[in-house]
Structures are given as structure tokens and as C-alpha cells.
Amino acid sequence: MDQILSVEGLKKSYASGFEALKGVDLNVESGEIFALLGPNGAGKTTLISTICGITNATAGTVRVGGHDIYAEFRAARSLIGLVPQEINLEPFEKVINTVRFSRGLFGKPKNDALIEQILRDLSLWDKKDSRIMELSGGMKRRVLIAKALSHEPRLLFLDEPTAGVDVELRKDMWNVVGRLKEQGVTIILTTHYIEEAEAIADRIGVISKGQLLLVEDKAKLMERLGQKQMIIELQAPVTEIPEGLASYDLQIAQNGSALVYSYDVKADRTGITKLLSDVSRAGLVLRDLQTKQSSLEEIFVNLVQEETA
């Protein structure tokens, strides 16, 4: 696969002296969904704005589809679609006109069939003649997406696409992202909803205080940092850990009616088999058994805390 985006040593500081990006390196492969995770103020939006040409970089180079974003800005920007975080739309204009405008602005010839397709895909077709101000917040967000897609980008940035959006629309949005991926569009989304990254991303980058802390395959990330817990629910509660189980790393939970065993998924021996036989040897009767893998959220919180510690 070829690289659609390559960022090298990207720095951005503001006149106030604030360093929003402290040397970011990032490569994104064509066709993948990349999620950029980070707390508020981490530099997610600054990174996107700089790549898209909304703010000037202080140092570093960015290439989109092999084109330098400054030297070959026309070629680079033609490939990019941007859905901003804020709902920035001209309130008095009709939906279809703002979408047509976006296509024209990117220098693409009129193509009403395509615009219709995009609006239909986003369930906006019956609203095409409505003024933007008449739309709900979720609909406006769809209009932003339609505008970004109107010029057929190869690389789509979604900056917090589902911030403040209800569950249904969020699922819709994820479906749209999935369809775009099928069409070969590379998607970079920022979010602070971990579940979102977990649900749709192929790779994840964690950014905090202007630095990329890590970039990794989602599954690998979860595997590498994932701790698993086994919760052993008991028929009769215990007050302390029985003698025969003292060698295990067990904790009493749920007022003694459960034991929690933490283990590493990647370890050669998880010790589960032996633990379970020792549990029955200790005379404990099981009511239920469940295992839980730490979510990206927990991984993420750990990472950011480590960084700030």
C-alpha cells in the first residue's frame, strides 16, 4: 500500500509562545481508517488544520499523496476533504447550493448526479432545498460531510465527527465511514470517544500535549496494553481469600461474592486452568464466570496519566 499522508517533524507554535505541536511524525497508508485520540487541547485539531492549510506550520514537512502541501498545494489540497469540528455553515443558504459551492471551490466541474448521490447517502436529499438554519444539529453535521465529499477526496479528515451527536446519528456516521473505506477513501478522524476509535479504526495514534505518544494497530495496541480480568462469582460469599488460593493475585469483590483474577493475555501461561481447579479444591462453588478485557479507554487513560506523571 502507498502512503497517502506523510508528516515529518511538524511543529506549530503560536505568537504567544504556546507550542501546539512539538515535532509530529506520522505516516498514514492509503485506504486505512486512522483514529487520532487525545484529550482536549492535545493538538488534534491543530495537526489537522496545519495539514489542510488552515494554519501555517512553524517547521516540518507534510506530503499528501506525495505532494508537498506548500510547494504543490493545489495537487495536495485537491485530495483532501475536511469536516471541521465546529458547525461552520452559511445559515441562509440552501443545502444543495452550499454543497455545489464546495465542489466548485475545489475546481471540479459541475456534477449534479454525484451531488444527488452524496446527499441521498447522507439522508439529506429531501432537505436539499432547506436553508441551513432550518436544519437540526445532526443534519448540519451531515451537510458538512456532504460538502467535504463533494469534490471526491482521497483523504478525509473528520474532526470530532460525533461530538455532541446522538447515538443513532453516531451509528449512521460510522456506516458512512465504512462505505467510504470500501470506496478506498482514507479516513483520519479525531475523537475523544474511545469507543468510536475502537469501533471503526484500523490504527490508532494517541496524542497529548502536542506529541504523538504512540501509533499502533488497534488490535495490537489492545493486546499489548490489554490486561484481562477473570471474575469468579461464588455461590456463597467469602470474607477472606482461602488459604489454598493465597499464591494467586486475587482480589475480593462484590462484598465477598466474587473473586477477581488479573492476568496478562500475552503470557504463555495464564494460570487459569490451575486456578479453577484450586478454586474447587478450596471448596468454593461457582455461580458464574466472566472475563473482561481492558478497553481502549483504560489504555488511553493509563497512557496519558503516565505522560503527565
Binding site: G53, E90, F101, F106
Partner: protein, 253 residues
Amino acid sequence: MNLTAIKAIYLFEMARFFRTLTQSFISPVISTSLYFVVFGAAIGSRIQEVDGIGYGAFIVPGLIMLSVMTQSISNGSFGIYFPKFIGTIYELLSAPVTFLEITIGYVGAAATKSLFIGLVILGTSALFVDLTILHPLPMLLFLVLTCLSFSLLGFIIGIWAGNFEQLQLVPLLIVTPLVFLGGSFYSISMLPPFWQWVTMFNPVVYLISGFRWAFFGAADVPVIASLGAISLFTVICVVTIGWIFKTGWRIRN
């Protein structure tokens, strides 16, 4: 040159104008009529001729210039300030367009609107006074150049302005006085010598004088000076915009 983009910006801006076409049309008609009632009929009847021209007719070029200049500035500044204010400027900045193309689109639309208003005022004036235009083509040239250069100035103001107050500041504090004191309603030769000399530093004098010459053949300053002044003014605006775009001043922080 991304002509499609220029066209898209231009048409999008003009759509805003057409949405409010009635207002755009009626307000200059009414304000022009008011000027004629006050200056033409009420006061004008007591004023003899100025430079051999009836006062009612004499004020027509100044009246057109007054509206065209203020309209150009307000159109030009609002056109670019509005996207900044509501945030849609992100799209312009991330599009594969140069600032030259953005400027042509916005300033072109702003100038078109003021040209339209200028022509409406001219038409309205013809209902009140007997108008003959001695040099129609130079008249049009002056009109178009004024629309363009003041729309460019407005564009700069729109980029500079950080809020709506600032947007009004320059037109109110600088441009309106310059236009009123630029001989819209009187001939410079009517002033005492000292003030005639001071007035020569007002760039608007040259524009109104040149425009009036195109109508009546009489001017306060030589026509070539008028043409030079408006060309110089346009060049200054273009260079300023070039600098703004090169540095990203007030746009790409």
C-alpha cells in the same frame, strides 16, 4: 488559474445579493430620491449654477460616487468578514485556490453589486434631472475602477476587522468624511484657497472630479490626475492584499 473556483465564489456571493434583490434595489432608489428632494428641490432651487451646471445635475456624479464607494467598502468587507465570523473560511483556506483567486471571486462580486447600485442611482437621477453624459465610456471606466478599488479596500478591512465594530470603524471614521469633503456636493473652487490646498490631499477629490468630468466636461483637477489617482489607489490595495496573503496576516494565524 482555478477558474471554476473563482466562478463558484463569485456566484455564491452573488446569490446572497439576489436573495435580497428587492432591498438592494429599493434602498438606493429611496436614498437617491431623498437627496434630490433635499438638495435638488429644497436647497438646490436657491443655489445658482455650479461650474455652469444646474445644481441638481451637478450633484449626480458625487451622489453616485458616494453610494458606490460606501457600498463597495461594505460589500467588500462583509463578503470576507462574514465567512471569518461564521467560520466557513476554513473551506476557503483548505481549498486548492490561491489568494488571488479568492480575491477575484469576492472582490468581483462586491464590485458587481456596487456597480449595479451605481447604475440604479444613475437611472433614478435621470428621473429627477435632465442628464447628458458627455463621455460615456470614460464615465463607465471611472465607475468600474471605483467599484473595484473600493471593494478591494473593503476586502482589506474585512480581513483586518476582528469584530463588527471594527468593520464599521474605517468606513465611518475615514471614508465617509473623505467622501463628503471630497466635493460630492460642491465644487472645490468654492472653497477658500487654504482649504482648496488641503483638499488636494483627499484622494476622493480626484475620483469625484474625474467622474464629474466624464459627465459634464468640467473638472476640479486634470482628468489625467484623476485617472492616475484611482490607478495608484488600486495598485496600493492590490499590493496590500498580496502582502496579506503572503504572510497569512489575520487569516492563517
